[in-house]
Symmetry: C2
Amino acid sequence: MATIKDVAKLAGVSVATVSRVLNDYDNVRGETVQAVKKAIKELDYHPNFLGRTLRRLETTKILVVVPTISNQFYSRVVKGIQTAALAEGYHAMIAITNSDPVVEKEFIDMAKRKLVDGTIFLHTTMDAGKLSKFAASYPAVSSCELVPEADISTVSIDNFQAALDAVRFLIEQGHQRIAFVCAGELYHSSQLREKGYRAALEEAGLPFRPELIFNEGFTFNAGRRAAKRLLELPELPDAVFATSDSAAIGVISELSNHGLHVCEDISVMGFDNNQIAEYYLPSLTTVSQPQFDIGHKACELLIKKIRDLACENECILLPHKLEYRNSVKKRRVL
Amino acid sequence: MATIKDVAKLAGVSVATVSRVLNDYDNVRGETVQAVKKAIKELDYHPNFLGRTLRRLETTKILVVVPTISNQFYSRVVKGIQTAALAEGYHAMIAITNSDPVVEKEFIDMAKRKLVDGTIFLHTTMDAGKLSKFAASYPAVSSCELVPEADISTVSIDNFQAALDAVRFLIEQGHQRIAFVCAGELYHSSQLREKGYRAALEEAGLPFRPELIFNEGFTFNAGRRAAKRLLELPELPDAVFATSDSAAIGVISELSNHGLHVCEDISVMGFDNNQIAEYYLPSLTTVSQPQFDIGHKACELLIKKIRDLACENECILLPHKLEYRNSVKKRRVL
DNA sequence: CAAGAAATTGTAATCGTTTACAACTATCAT
DNA sequence: ATGATAGTTGTAAACGATTACAATTTCTTG
């Protein structure tokens, strides 16, 4: 493998001059530049990044810690991150943790060991204390699934308001017994959405029924499990609000297996607005999150942090939107 | 940021000794080890990876070049890669190119500049010449979407045989007019599958009808477009074989919009066996690819290459399998 | 207790680059 | 011819680790 020395020797100049050519300095004579470029080509030389990185102490890489990429939600956020990163000359590297703290720790180590300039967490298993401490010493941003009380810049939607809006809509359509499929205490977003759900019931004067809360998770199978349990209730709900599109589809799938027609017999609403929400039959009424923008903004905040670790933390909420499709029964207009 | 020097000073030893402690050498006195570890803890020191990497000229990172992660197919392959990598002490980093040659080039540069030890392409925009040249100088493996004639280790399924099996199955179920939704010349896999499709027709003595070939692509919308065109045919086909599950679902969705019932009125078969194939209504009969295993094997081959760049190239074909579900009409048993 | 062996530690070179600084060359006004 | 100036180029010291080799200390044994 050719190094800068080989190039220097072949071009008959010093390594410093080669380096200057490589970095487009304008204080090198035209002829010299040509000679160096010729040597580079001849040797098929590619500067070793580690040398530069070590010297400059910057990698122009950022790490994105993701629980999974099977979920389209995250893949869209990642795309937003990557776009913003590229625009500023950074490269986004994705680390999939499967929410395994051990794996996550390994990747965080990469950040601590300066293999990347900064880290974006789309979900972390760290608690507020650990995360705050990490963010104090290394550029980092938390997004999507936040850690309450952590001292770090964040980007997400207003999960409380989004759920409130969704359930309000269901109520407006005449639904009263509304089941809620959520992911439990482990996910802050789920808790906030549950608060929104309750707030909507309360403002409409509807009773909160604990038996309609299904703490099963975000996945398709979680939705299925919830639907199975729900079908055993003495009285069926009018509507189901699931905190993810996957779970919503799991619900629909299971209800269909039992001969129920979603929309006609029972309404189902999702969350996220993944592609599947649009493509499913019936297409899914859902809460749309600006996934790309979330990623984009998170990356911008991170780069700000990379440039000035001491800069003020920002907590950004981006707007959500209801997406009206065919899984929710419309109020009959009299 | 603390460096090894700071630790050495605080512990009252040389940097060499600290390094030995860091790397678990057994020729350091117990007390010294303790002193060094204490200093490390006190300074919250994390060895800078770049120093080590530069010295050892290995990064223990591998790069996975992916066109997209929105497609579950790739995310499962990536999971296989990551698992195999971790088992050998490597970390997989994912680079999303959107099949943009410029972006891909940037990431390939990372490999050339030694920021990673090796590269796995799940799809590349390079031609055979470029890819072969790259693979000759840098550890690399090509997988999933291969480049014909390229000199590089590969892992995939036997796309010809898989399509042959699929179409044979459709024919066995009594279908005769079988449409084919594929991705055209850009994708070698698609071409091979078309050959398999033709071979199956031929061996059954069925005519090949060019008007039943729909070169639209792998996506949901590709499937929709194909279905739209297909609905304008003077005579409807009995079955549609799509080269991806997404496209198959696009077909189903569009056909449903026109009041056709998939399975009863027309059969649809997919390819890949993504989660959606199982979850869709109707669930999708499809060709299952061993996605995890493909990734796993590809990573193994890559690590072999990293350890010995000159080792023989291997071209591995993994077994596929038909997954029988509810989108294909069964032959009536008389 | 001396001498050699073994265990432990330190010194300094090294990986491939960047960059401060010095040094050299050419140009030009005086 | 001289000195100042600007434009090029080279020298050598970083960056933060690892590691060959040398040096030191400790242990063993006759």
